[in-house]
């Protein structure tokens, strides 16, 4: 028994002796800083540890990941959940380390410090070229592109251009797993090979009025299909979900049966299976692990708050709010909506007017968060009666017992997790 463990360890782990003295120093510094930060109650300590390590050794990620398979997950929405599902799927037959919700390079030091033979990293859209090149990623998952934090990103097309430039000049073998439904993603992939196309969903389409390749106005059909006179069109997909059944190459079909709710989770599960099978994992074994995931960094989780079954949803831009409202629309439970406009949320709240809040008419709605007045005005204009409450937890308490859905922007959501002492 002991022997078996030792054998698997030596087979799967990279000997630490290969690390340079500088990498050793940086890793040790990251460990000490993270532990200190964690003890002081400042969260996971992942980011601050990573920041210290990358100051000491700017090329640390490249050195630590050398010789290991790295999958990068990026896109405007679904990064964290997809990263989690991909890592779970691969764990069916191997040890995997993955990002914990911090998608800048500093957040990747912690998973890279592990000895796991395979890494799954969640990377901010604009950092993808830098990180993918540095770690010589073997697999790149491109989920979607739509408007988000425009005060920081300013132009959506810049993201597609950055990905397109990366893939146009890539000098190592890189398998792309990409969303065939999103015209900007398809344009970003260009002529790159190999690509595994996934029906990744693209339901909020306000950023896809023009063909990214030629600028022509071309419609997207209700079923998501699109093609342009310039020749660009929705590629044939290798993986898709229809009526709760996941379909894959070679006639593969299996009922999804996810614990996670919603159509976007189904699409993300399809991405996870596409990655896992590309990496050589058995699809049934991968799917079994994906099915069992019921919460991701506190998201989708149900928390009992004094007789209220509170479901927590994170949404941060029109496309992700569209999906959150789609989920919320399946019941008539009261809804608490929390909007902040701090750095990670985007400081401009104009996007609230792109969210189809009209579908909440007739529901019990409470507006909360720092920018509850912007939200309340948006809801009133949409014909949704609401009241404002500065404290989202007090807002939940004010409702009759039973199911409550809470949707929050990034910092608002995490404030709620902290207030409820939910681990993430």
């Amino acid at each position: 028994m002991l022997e078996a463990v030792i054998i698997s360890t030596t087979q799967r782990r990279v000997p630490s002796g290969r690390r340079s003295p500088r990498a050793h120093l940086a890793v040790a510094a990251a460990r000490v800083t993270s532990a200190l930060s964690k003890r002081l109650g400042r969260g996971h300590g992942t980011v601050i540890g990573g920041r210290v390590a990358l100051i000491l050794h700017p090329k640390l990620l490249g050195e630590l990941t050398r010789g290991r398979a790295v999958t990068i997950v990026t896109g405007t929405n679904g990064k964290t959940t997809t990263t989690h599902l991909v890592a779970e799927a691969l764990r069916a037959d191997r040890e995997v380390a993955s990002t914990r919700g911090a998608n800048l390079p500093t957040g990747q030091v912690e998973p890279a410090m592990s000895r796991a033979p395979e890494l799954v990293l969640e990377i901010d859209e604009l950092y993808v070229p830098r990180v993918a090149t540095e770690v010589q990623a073997s697999t790149l998952v491109l989920l979607n592109i739509s408007r988000d934090q425009l005060d920081r990103i300013t132009e959506i097309r810049r993201i597609a251009e950055a990905w397109r430039d990366l893939l146009g000049g890539v000098t190592w073998p890189l398998t792309v797993i990409a969303n065939a439904d999103d015209p900007l993603v398809v344009w970003a992939v260009g002529d790159h090979e190999p690509v595994v196309w996934v029906q990744g969903g693209y339901w909020w389409r306000e950023d896809a009025a023009l063909c990214p390749a030629c600028g022509r106005v071309r419609p997207i059909a209700d079923d998501g299909d699109w093609h342009c006179a310039c020749g660009s069109q929705r590629p044939h997909v290798a993986w898709w979900v229809a009526d709760g059944v996941l379909h894959g190459p070679g006639g593969y079909a299996a009922p999804l049966g996810l614990a996670l709710p919603g159509r976007s989770s189904e699409a993300q599960a399809a991405f996870a299976l596409a990655v896992a099978t590309t990496r050589g994992t058995d699809p049934d074994a991968a799917l079994e692990r994906v099915r069992a995931v019921d919460t991701v960094n506190g998201r989708f989780g149900a928390v009992d708050v004094d007789g209220h079954q509170l479901r927590l949803l994170l949404a941060k831009n029109p496309a992700s709010w569209n999906e959150a409202l789609h989920l919320v629309g399946r019941s008539d439970a009261p809804v608490v909506l929390c909007v902040n406009a701090r750095g990670p949320d985007g400081r401009d709240t104009s996007w609230l007017w792109d969210v189809p809040f009209e579908q909440l008419r007739g529901r019990t709605v409470i507006a909360s968060g720092d920018r509850r007045l912007d939200l309340a005005l948006r809801l009133e204009t949409a014909g949704v009666a609401c009241r404002a409450d500065a404290d989202p937890i007090a807002a939940v308490h004010s409702l009759p017992g039973g199911a409550v859905d809470l949707v929050g922007t990034y910092t608002a959501f995490h404030d709620v997790l902290k207030a409820l002492d939910v681990a993430w």
Binding site: L150, E206, T349, L373
Partner: protein, 228 residues
């Protein structure tokens, strides 16, 4: 008439249409939002035309389509009411800069826009001078530096933020019944009096104010946050 909302509507500017319709309906004035998509002709019978913000490529395509269509030029020359925000305002001028270089605009408003050294991003506060309105609040996000010619007037003076950024401390433009601004927010949600001014122009009479407790509270909060 919301002109090309899917092309010029990047910063929640469709909210301007929603606010106008809502404030008209609350007064018993019939209102309908007509979203004109880029493949469609721009109708000539609109009461208020709205143009919003967009990226360089979208802006360049919108100006070509609007020039070929021709209706917006006839509307402006006939004294029609237009609210043009950010890229939508630049499109109405003589020239503007895009990634592809200098682009010829529709020439309906006496402004020219070049690219500035840095992007203006943040809360913008404006004291209106061309129109009888209280302080305007909103959010700007642009690289344009807009010069205003003799036939047009600045909308107002910048209190906080960048605005037109041409060195004379102004923001926005007014010419005939065209109002151009860099204010998003959307601008009519953050400034209901501007919405009512446009509606008043459309119906031919000043409108009595509405009770707006939420919008009033939002304005107080924003003004306090920016001036702090």
């Amino acid at each position: 008439m919301h002109v090309y909302p899917t092309v010029l509507g990047l910063y929640g500017d469709r909210g301007n249409a929603l606010v106008l319709a809502s404030r008209a309906l609350r007064r018993g004035i019939a209102a309908e939002i007509v979203a004109v998509e880029p493949a469609e002709p721009v109708p000539a019978h609109g009461d208020i035309y709205l143009l919003g913000g967009g990226e360089d490529l979208a802006q360049s395509i919108a100006v070509d389509l609007l020039r070929a269509d021709g209706t917006l030029a006839r509307v402006v020359e006939g004294g029609g009411i237009v609210l043009a925000v950010c890229a939508g305002m630049q499109v109405l001028g003589h020239t503007f800069s895009a990634a592809s270089g200098l682009v010829t605009g529709l020439g309906l408003v006496d402004i020219t826009t070049v690219v500035g050294a840095s992007r203006a991003v943040g809360e913008l506060l404006v004291t209106p001078t061309a129109l009888e309105l209280p302080t305007l609040t909103g959010y700007e996000n642009h690289r344009g530096r807009t010069n205003i010619g003799a036939d047009a007037r600045p909308l107002g003076l910048v209190d906080q933020g960048v605005g037109t950024g041409n060195g004379d401390g102004t923001e926005g433009v007014v010419q005939r019944r065209v109002v151009g601004t860099y204010l998003h927010g959307p601008v009519l949600a953050r400034n209901p009096t501007l919405a009512d001014l446009l509606l008043g122009w459309a119906v031919g009479a000043a409108l009595a104010p509405l009770a707006d407790p939420t919008a009033d509270a939002l304005r107080v909060e924003r003004l306090r946050a920016v001036r702090r």
